[in-house]
């Protein structure tokens, strides 16, 4: 873990709402370059909202989002993706009628990288997820759930991000496949120095993977600490792990 002087992503006092319902009530999160940070919490805690607010939809009502020292709170959504922040949204959201190749190409299209850079990243994605190479000419919709998740992450990687936001990558996946996904994230972090913010229901897996973690309850961060610290906390164990252990 490298400790940079300024964090890669700093969220300060962030508030966001859907109409009158306040989903984020003043959230503070810091992510240093080279870290994996896990954000855990129950359904409706505001985890996904935080992820989407970083991308400008919904817009923040108050607070600031600083990326690499720059305030990106008001930047339009499509421009945020050009700042080398990539997102693998909840529910995978691949393009089902387009081929795997086209899905991956979509990730690279908006970044304006050279052909060589694109090819290198494609090979990197194939090394991480050999399945995608096998399925290259197939339609995205014909892939299995796990393969679709790999494709969603691969597509996000094609924009060669510095910061990768992953929303529930293990959702609805068999434990073995989920582990493959987590392994790939760990590899990306260690070998490529990719900074990752991962939102997860699967607290056990996520906290084992992450350097640090945040616990979110009702739109507020209630706990923060290193992954192993949080795993030991009795209230975490009670709320998120008891009865749900499979590790």
């Amino acid at each position: 873990m490298t400790s940079a002087p300024t964090p890669l992503l700093a969220i300060r006092g962030l508030r966001a709402a859907y109409g009158k319902i306040e989903a984020l009530k003043g959230v503070d999160v810091e992510i240093n370059a080279g870290e994996i940070v896990a954000l855990i919490g129950a359904n409706g805690a505001g985890k996904s909202t935080l992820m989407m607010t970083i991308f400008g939809k919904p817009r923040a009502r108050a607070g600031r989002i600083l990326y690499d020292g720059r305030d990106i709170t008001g930047v339009p959504t499509h421009e945020i993706a050009h700042l080398r922040i990539a997102q693998s949204p909840e529910g995978r959201r691949i393009f089902p009628r387009m081929s795997v190749a086209e899905n991956l190409q979509m990730g690279a299209d908006s970044t304006g990288c050279t052909d060589a850079e694109r090819e290198a990243m494609l090979q990197r994605v194939f090394t991480l997820f050999p399945r995608l190479k096998e399925r290259y000419a197939q339609r995205g919709g014909t892939l299995s759930g796990g393969e679709q998740q790999m494709l969603a992450i691969g597509r996000a990687l094609m924009s060669r991000p510095r910061l990768l936001l992953l929303d529930e990558p293990s959702l609805g996946l068999a434990p073995l496949i989920a582990r493959q996904i987590f392994d790939a994230i760990r590899t990306l972090n260690r070998q490529d120095g990719l900074t990752v913010l991962i939102v997860e229901q699967n607290a056990n897996h996520a906290l084992k993977l992450a350097h640090r973690g945040y616990v979110m309850v009702n739109g507020l961060i209630t706990l923060a600490g290193t992954g192993s610290e949080l795993l030991q906390r009795p209230e975490i164990r009670a709320a998120y792990l008891e009865g749900g252990r499979h590790g």
Binding site: E79, A81, S88, P89, E134, R135, Y136, Q138
Partner: protein, 439 residues
């Protein structure tokens, strides 16, 4: 494909089962029709209710249902349980693939030769021009509906804008067709953007309603803005197109006189045929090129998932507006062609029916497929003419044919889409692995 389909097909074998099904259907028909057909009521001369029975008609109807259900059931057994794999033998499959590969070039060559083969048949040439106009409109709308997935029920508005642009500019300022053609396209594209702005946040049904209204608004404005458009009287005397300044008429500086050949009115028809063919091919070429560029892929991705698009850094606003503008531009070109072909335009040519027809062509062809749209235009417009002899029953037969096609091919004539990104090395590997059906 799945187990239940074989289960449902099983009990219906054997003559007793066949008769039982037919009898049940006939019974239902008897109950339904006994009041609807069996008894006829009418108001008598002094307002009293008179009625009489028509058991003969009733009996024949029930008989038709009985016989018909036997025929349908036999037909079903002859086809076998649903599942396309068993239906089509591999030889036919490879034959279809062969036809598929050469169908587009063959159609193109045929289209090029139509004026040569049917030079003396004015009717065929006119029909060809009509079909090609709809092919072009279909390809234009395909950008909006097929690729970008924006359901547009008011496409005729852009057709009208193009036609009136050319009609009004040519009659008022005397500009030539070749100057007006791009202008008509640009004006239509502007209207496309104008329509696009208010509907940026809409999708699906809501978008369809607004575009429908837009099409009607354009038509009503044309009808009511009499000083500019001539209202319901239309714009008469629109100049015919020229071959880069050389008119195709019987004058001394006409094309026939210049070439020293005898003048024939067919020259103009042939010229119009090649003109619309060139315009349609331009539409096709541009669409195919755009599909391989980031903007074309963004259109298709937008159709699939707007949220994912935004997360990938696609500006959905400009993507939608360019789709509307591109589609509208081709509509405008087609409109300008329509105006110069007819020599007269009026609001009657731009009703909702036209929008619906073009949309039907796109849907029937298979959303997003260029060849499919061309085939569908040929089927629809050609079908209209083919069934002309049936007179009153024309629409009925045509409608039934449409329903049958949609049952047979629910995704349109050509349902698959050609990929736009290839990896030559992996292509062979992947097709082998697909068959294993892993995952």
């Amino acid at each position: 494909m799945t187990a239940p389909s074989t289960n449902t097909a099983k009990p219906a074998t054997g003559i007793p089962a066949l008769l039982k099904t037919a009898f049940t259907n006939a019974l239902v028909a008897l109950v339904l029709f006994s009041l609807m057909v069996g008894i006829r009521t009418e108001a008598g001369s002094s307002g009293q209710l008179t009625y009489w029975t028509r058991f003969g008609e009733l009996a024949s109807l029930v008989g038709v249902v009985f016989g018909g259900s036997i025929v349908i059931e036999l037909f079903r057994q002859w086809i076998g349980p649903s599942g396309a794999e068993r239906l089509v033998p591999p030889a036919v499959h490879s034959g279809m693939a062969f036809v598929g590969r050469f169908l587009a070039p063959a159609l193109l060559i045929f289209a090029l030769l139509v004026p040569v083969i049917f030079y003396d048949q004015r009717y065929i040439l006119d029909l060809g021009i009509l079909v090609l106009t709809y092919v072009m409109l279909g390809w234009g709308l395909n950008v909006v509906v097929g690729l970008a997935g924006l359901l547009d029920l008011g496409y005729v508005a852009f057709y009208a804008v193009g036609a009136y642009s050319y009609g009004l500019i040519a009659t008022n300022f005397g500009w030539s067709f070749w100057v007006c053609l791009p202008l008509a396209g640009i004006l239509a594209a502007c209207w496309g953007v104008l329509l696009g702005f208010p509907v940026l946040r809409l999708r699906g049904d809501y978008l369809a309603i607004v575009t429908l209204a837009f099409g009607e608004i354009i038509r009503l404005v044309i009808i009511n803005w009499q000083e500019l458009t001539g209202g319901p009287n239309g714009v008469p005397g629109i100049p015919r197109p020229t071959l880069f300044g050389i008119p195709l008429d019987n004058s001394d500086d006409g094309l026939a006189a210049k070439l020293g050949i005898e003048y024939s009115s067919t020259h103009r028809i042939v010229f119009l045929f090649y003109l619309i063919l060139a315009l349609a091919l331009l539409t096709n070429w541009v669409t195919i090129r755009l599909r391989r560029l980031p903007i074309g892929r963004a259109w298709e991705a937008l159709r699939e998932d707007e949220v994912a698009c935004r997360a990938l850094g696609i500006n959905t606003t400009t993507t939608k507006l360019t789709a509307f503008a591109t589609g509208a531009m081709f509509g405008g070109f087609a409109g300008a062609f329509f105006a110069t072909r007819q020599g007269f335009i009026s609001p009657e040519s731009f009703t909702f029916q036209e929008s619906a027809l073009v949309l039907a062509i796109v849907v029937l062809g298979g959303m997003g497929s260029q060849l499919g749209v061309a085939l569908a235009a040929l089927t629809m417009i050609g079908g209209f003419e083919l069934f002309r002899g049936l007179e009153t029953y024309r629409m009925l037969v045509f409608g039934m044919a449409m329903v049958l096609i949609m049952i047979w091919r629910p995704r349109g004539l050509i349902g698959h889409r050609a990929p736009t990104v290839y990896l030559t090395k992996a292509q062979a590997i992947s097709s082998d692995l697909v068959k294993e059906g892993h995952g």
